[in-house]
Amino acid sequence: MVAIPETGGYGADHDDGKPGFFARWFYSTNHKDIGTLYLIFGIISGLIGGYLSFMMRLELMEPGFQYFANGHDFNVFASMHGLIMIFFMVMPAVIGGFGNWFVPIMIGAPDMAFPRMNNLSFWLLPVALICLLISFFVPGTAAGDGFGGGWVMYPPLSTSGSPGPAFDFIIIGLLAAGFSSIFGAINFITTILNMRAPGMTLHKMPLFAWSVLVTAFLLLLALPVLAASLFMLFTDRIDGGTGFFDPAMGGDPQMFQHLFWFFGHPEVYIMILPAFGIISHIVSTFSRKPIFGYLGMAYAMVAIGVVGFVVWAHHMYTVGMDVNLKAYFLAATLIIAVPTGVKIFSWLATMWGGSIRYTIPMQWALAFIFLFVIGGVTGVMLANAGVDAYLHDTYYVVAHFHYVLSMGAVFGIFAGFYYWFGKMSGIQYNKWLAAAHFWLFFIGVNVIFFPQHFLGYNGMQRRVADYPEAFELWNKVSSYGAIITLIGTGFFFLMLLEAFTIGRKTRRVGDNYWGDGATTLEWTLSSPPPFHQFNTLPRIEDTDEH
């Protein structure tokens, strides 16, 4: 996509000047090191969030109570699973991790625009996660510790319904995570708009950088709304405080839902757009073809971002909204299918006529495309306000958003991880361990989430610790899927262990280990790249390749 001048490893010819261990990892201002920290943080959070979901699946394997003391404890696990996976796993991994690592390199910049703010963005996150973990162990309601009001945190359950300090810790933690993301967004926007290499116009910029640019704007516009609504919840919770959402004081609990989803819907695109960017690069690399319809792809993401801000109330069809409003949100939501379809078909057209190699990252990318289509079309179903009266808050919704996130965003993360693992570490993964990870994970998540469509159709509601016997069969199947997925995750860690012990001696990789399909600037650098790259800025030739 980007024409690359005669190469030779930019900036590898000088002293790296790497600081000592503590200074390097704790005061870090280097975008690649911060990216690595984000990825490690995302993996740790993913383990915590995965543990929570695995316990829920164990509990739901059979009717009755097996592992949890009561419904509150289950609700705590469900709520924290959502918050941790969204704010501490997916966002740090795709934006903080891959964004930090590859956006500066792809646009030919030596580093991010504000390296110290970048460090602050990262270190706010562990603080935030610790706040969330503390909330597990402090009183929530009379029924137990922790906050069990769902990741959506609707009042009155999150105000008068959860009087203990558990939810206050969550508010503080999410505010910290929110500011982390806002700083990150400012950093990415500034970097991408000001620090592109000479000759790299916006219309020559790699699609991953485009996806992060759109994502950063979404973050910048959406997260302040979340921060404001969290503050409002906080002051509502104080005795004798405000009553923004308290009907007894003239407030309106539904207003919180509007505020929350004004943030929350762009948030789902924040999670998926960077994955779109990653998938584009992988499909192009392993088809050995330039992206089909590059401009359409870039502007489809912009369109998704813009329309994503005006569809929020499709999460609220059952709150008793005016019918004309519902009709508007129905129509607006359906429109999102169009740019999403453009992306799917453009990926397929990129593969058409290509010379396709089925490497591990390509397998993740193909699985992403297929499973994202399934998650996307069930979104078309749920956009129907009328039909949603049946499906809203059932397991059909759970299946839908896990198909787009657990198989969308997470598959995008793993695709990117295997694609760039050699670039980031200098070591190629063991392909057998990686293949075992992929296939177990692919089968596992489908076995978990496909039957959940059936549960939703049959009328099973979300966020319940126990269920009528009629739902037993598909819950059991779903829980078996969780076991398969757990084994698959085990292979991921085996793969990492093998790579950093055996692989580091035997499978070192060169600059461009994927061959001539990989055309972006990171493939002109050594693997791993020098501590500081592009001391001489690359110059992008004025070609008209796309």
Binding site: K326, L348, S355, L366, F370, W474
Partner: protein, 280 residues
């Protein structure tokens, strides 16, 4: 484990009519091992099922189309079969087509969806009004049309009591909402504390119970029977355990129930009104 599979042909050719004709005793509750929508019990749910089926077949066709296309590409353009890649990266015509065709498909979907939405949402002239008030964790039902019927609490039955009453555990209550068959009923839904959602899947109804706000919806049930649903908005420790049970009786029986101050003949006291049934 008993499987009940929907007849695939009837699904394809207009599921709703076939199912309605085929169902004798209505007791709308989840089917063991079921994987399809519950049988429709109201005109709204009939329309909802029709729109659902239309969208369902469209999205199935889309998934199959993408799957077949992807499979073809993956085989036809694998490295061995096609060692030299093309350099094509534009085709304006096809880009226009894959923008316009989805728009046309969405138009096919949006028209019946809007019809359903307005039909469902606009409450017609109703003959009876009932009120459902969410509480932590039970429902209170009131009949504002009848002064002689006091409002009563509908508590969930514990496991033993459900079995004794022959009702599904986590769905059965000690005092169902009682309404007459073939009658347009308006439901007012609100809440005393946390949010809840009054849900009966086979009616096609899910209405949030929000404190400080009275939502309204409506239903008209075709057949007598018992219909179940769960609370569908997370509301705290017993969210899983605050079911909705609606008993639909003949008009004559409903008249007698009303005349008897909200009790069936033979019962001395009004239905329900009991206090907490074994809450965990």
């Amino acid at each position: 484990m008993r499987f009940k599979r929907p007849n695939l042909m009837s699904v394809m050719t207009g599921l709703t009519a076939a199912l309605l004709a085929g169902s004798a005793a209505m007791a709308a509750e989840p089917t063991p091992g079921g994987w399809w929508l519950q049988e429709p019990a109201t005109p709204v749910m009939v329309k909802l099922t029709e729109v659902h089926n239309l969208v369902f077949w469209i999205i199935c066709a889309i998934v199959i189309f993408v799957m077949v296309l992807m499979g073809y590409i993956m085989i036809r353009f694998r490295e061995k079969a096609n060692p030299v890649p093309s350099k094509t990266s534009h085709n304006t015509l096809i880009e226009v087509i894959w923008t316009i065709v989805p728009v046309l498909i969405l138009l096919v979907i949006v028209v019946p969806s809007m019809q359903l939405l307005y039909y469902q949402d606009q409450v017609p002239e109703t003959e009876l009004t009932v009120k459902a008030v969410g509480n932590t964790w039970n429902w209170e039902y009131a009949y504002p049309d009848y002064e002689n019927i006091e409002s009563y609490i509908s508590n969930p039955l514990d496991e033993d009591a459900s079995e004794a009453a022959g009702k599904p555990f986590l769905l059965g209550t000690d005092a169902p909402l009682v309404v007459p068959v073939n009658t347009k009923v308006k439901v007012l839904v609100t809440s005393l504390n946390n949010m809840h959602a009054w849900t009966v899947p086979s009616f096609g109804i899910k209405m949030d119970a929000v404190p400080g706000l009275v939502n309204e919806t409506w239903f008209e049930v075709f057949e007598e029977g018992t219909y179940y649903g769960p609370c569908s908005e997370i509301c705290g420790v017993n969210h899983y355990y605050m079911p909705i049970e609606v008993q639909v009786v003949s008009k004559a029986e409903f008249e007698r129930w009303v005349a008897n101050d909200g009790a069936f003949p033979g019962q001395t006291a009004q239905l329900g009104g009991t206090t907490t049934a074994a809450q965990k």
